[in-house]
Subunit: 433 residues, 2 copies
């Protein structure tokens, strides 16, 4: 059963969780001086409107009309009750998922790409540089830039650029320019190529190139697809819509809310609007659960400390759970979850016991993905399948307990450009890390 | 702007165009005797319920509840007003499209796959054999069989099986078994392999294998994804929903209705419910337009005569426009439009002047696809891009005439598994046939 809302029911403001957090967020620190970073430090890379949102304490922030005009191409997204999955599990739980896969780029990422591009355009910026791994973020930004008429320049990790060309083609279809990183267009890229001409690149190197590009090109800013407060803010339309749709479905608050967690933005988008009600804040509210890969267990095994956001140590240091900024996870198919740290907001909630975290190996995750595809019909992204695994296990726990629990998870993206991973799983060639 | 309906608003009956056609359909003829084919001739391949629908004169046929239960996983599909495309064209026309790409398999094909699988199951059939070219039909049938618990066995044209593995993986994800055709599992396949061990296969050979499989396996039927009357019938949910959604949008009847045309099922699904109002039947009603590739110009250049449905000449002969059953079109990216004939219902309408046909070369089609992706945001299938090309040209004609026309087309599928074609187009490597 799908619960729909009409385009005029998109939330008109983003929900800012900052005033509701268990303790204030600690400031990012300058990588050189170790002093707290101020707006001026960020101004060469981001428009002031986004810097303001990054540090805002306002409980709600209005969504500009031009952003809503584009979001309504696919929003509000459906809330779906997974009845066929419930039946297959023979569980008394009611399982709902918010379907963010319906966006043109196929994931939740355009929610923030559109907003970021709007604010850049509003400040007169004509070109945005960014990095992308497998291409989810780069394709969302290329889409947004095309619709606002900005240039989009993407440094794509060379290994993905060569082995997974389809997201590169998506970016180009939307007018984006894409180069393999490391490239000879930046000093950072040239230095790496000089050392290792055949390198496959890394997300850390690609970040360095995109930041250098933005800092050295006129009219150019940098854009990031997760981790930062303003990115999570833009994703809260997900949870705000889901609250209303659960009411439509005749439900109260869910018992548990789950999302896969790489940088944390899709999980945050669904969960943050429920923080004022959550079990950590108020007894009886929903449990919030982050699901991560066992091979990159940031929240379940990382240290809570200040660390760099990138591999090369060029970004401000942020207080978060981290596996160390030089940690390189194995090449699992859920490329979007291969990040050594997590969004400070997510870490704040976990540190204070308002959010739980669980980790699964890849094999268990693909078992869940296949069960979902064979009951509900759609094929999930490997990242999304982490949340599905968590939701299935919660539904089985409810069955064990004989309780009618309400489970809500974020269906963050489809797996139509990840079919090679399914091929490996179906034919016994998936590394179970 | 998207016009949505709730799942309880799916039509409860299919629209049968037969009583409304300008002249009665001519019967299919037995390939051996040349006599009209009767129900008993078809019984080894199809369930009686579908044979009944194939020949029915009832104006409406109820949709079974179990079919509706599955259709509502994605239906009703959105009707979308393409305002951003209108603005880019600076046209006074209002352009609407029905978005059939939102199904789990990514096209309109599951509308009939679900219905056909239901009727097979109801008659106790446990296994369905079919053929597929690039894999759109095979994936839709594998999806439907998985949801009803039937086995699905797909003979996939060998060239596609090896060069385009992703739809094969989709079928396997839904539990389908897929073999490259020609295979050594049938006499037909073995004979071809004996002559030419390295052949890439063809749709004609794959049909022969699937039909032989169904005829020689117990408990097995055959299933076809287009052309036949009952297939077109199942697709009429598209047009029935679109009629109601146009009312929601404050529109009367559209001025022109377009669909891409290979076998004819997506075009028929949208257009047939408008036949009683169409210009051929009643002055002032909507024009109906079939859009086909210049390289396979069945309706625009074919002969109207009895011909075989398959390349090998094993199926009944049907009265249709045909390029000859041995015609092999060039390997354009719109694989779904590479058929030498067309559905008898579509041909009946064209022959009697109730439907027009237009053909475009591949380059003009991809220009339209790119313009659509860069304005409306989503990336269309190459097949679908034919309808988009037609709709854009209608909108430009309306601009030329200074008239506020209403244009409706079928967005039959997404292009996420066709990005290699976009890659070729963007880099000047597309053959413009």
């Amino acid at each position: 059963m799908r619960y729909l809302m009409t385009p005029d029911q998109i939330p008109s403001a983003w929900f800012n969780v900052a005033p509701h957090l268990p303790e204030p967020l600690s400031p990012p620190l300058h990588p050189g001086t170790g002093e707290p970073v101020g707006p001026d430090d960020l101004a060469p890379l981001f428009p002031m409107a986004l810097i303001g949102q990054e540090m805002s304490a306002d409980p709600w922030i209005d969504i500009p009309g031009e952003v809503l005009d584009i979001l309504q191409l696919w929003r509000p997204t459906p809330l779906v009750r997974a009845r066929r999955l419930e039946q297959a599990l023979d569980t008394p739980a009611r399982i709902y998922f918010k379907d963010e896969s319906v966006s043109p780029a196929g994931s939740h990422k355009p929610n923030t790409a559109v907003a970021q591009t709007f604010y850049n355009k509003a400040e007169g910026i004509g070109r945005i540089a960014t990095e992308t791994g497998a291409g989810q973020w780069g394709s969302a930004l290329a889409f947004a830039c095309q619709l606002f008429g900005l240039e989009c320049f993407v440094y794509m990790v060379a290994a993905s650029y060569h082995q997974k060309p389809y997201r590169r083609v998506m970016m180009e279809t939307w007018g984006g320019q894409v180069v393999a990183s490391p490239s000879d267009l930046t000093q950072a890229g040239k230095a790496v190529l000089a050392r290792d001409p055949d390198t496959g690149g890394s997300l850390g190197i690609a970040i360095s190139e995109a930041v250098e590009d933005a800092a050295t090109h006129p009219d150019t800013h940098y854009s990031l697809g997760s981790v930062l407060n303003h990115v999570l803010l833009h994703q809260t339309v997900i949870g705000l819509e889901a609250r209303k749709q659960l009411e439509q479905a005749g439900e109260g608050l869910p018992d548990v809310i789950l999302g896969s967690c790489g940088g944390g933005s899709n999980l945050a988008g669904l969960a943050l609007p429920f923080v004022p009600d959550c079990a950590g804040a108020r007894s009886g509210g929903p449990r919030l659960v982050a699901v991560e890969p066992s091979s990159c267990p940031t929240l379940t095994e990382g240290r809570f400390e200040y660390d760099f956001g990138d591999e090369a140590g060029m970004t401000p240091k942020i207080l978060m759970y981290t596996l160390g900024h030089e940690f390189i996870p194995p090449p699992i198919h859920a490329g979007g979850l291969r990040y050594h740290g997590d969004a400070p907001i997510i870490c704040n909630l976990v540190k204070n016991g308002w959010m739980e975290a669980v980790a699964y190996p890849q094999g268990k995750v693909f078992e869940a993905a296949l069960q979902f595809a064979r009951t509900e019909g759609t094929i999930p992204a490997p990242e999304t399948a982490h949340a599905i695994r968590g939701a299935i296990d919660e539904a089985l726990a409810a069955k064990e307990a004989g309780e009618e629990r309400v489970i809500l998870f974020n269906y963050s993206g489809h797996g139509l450009l990840d079919l090679a991973a399914y091929d490996a799983f179906l034919h016994g060639q998936l590394a179970d890390v």
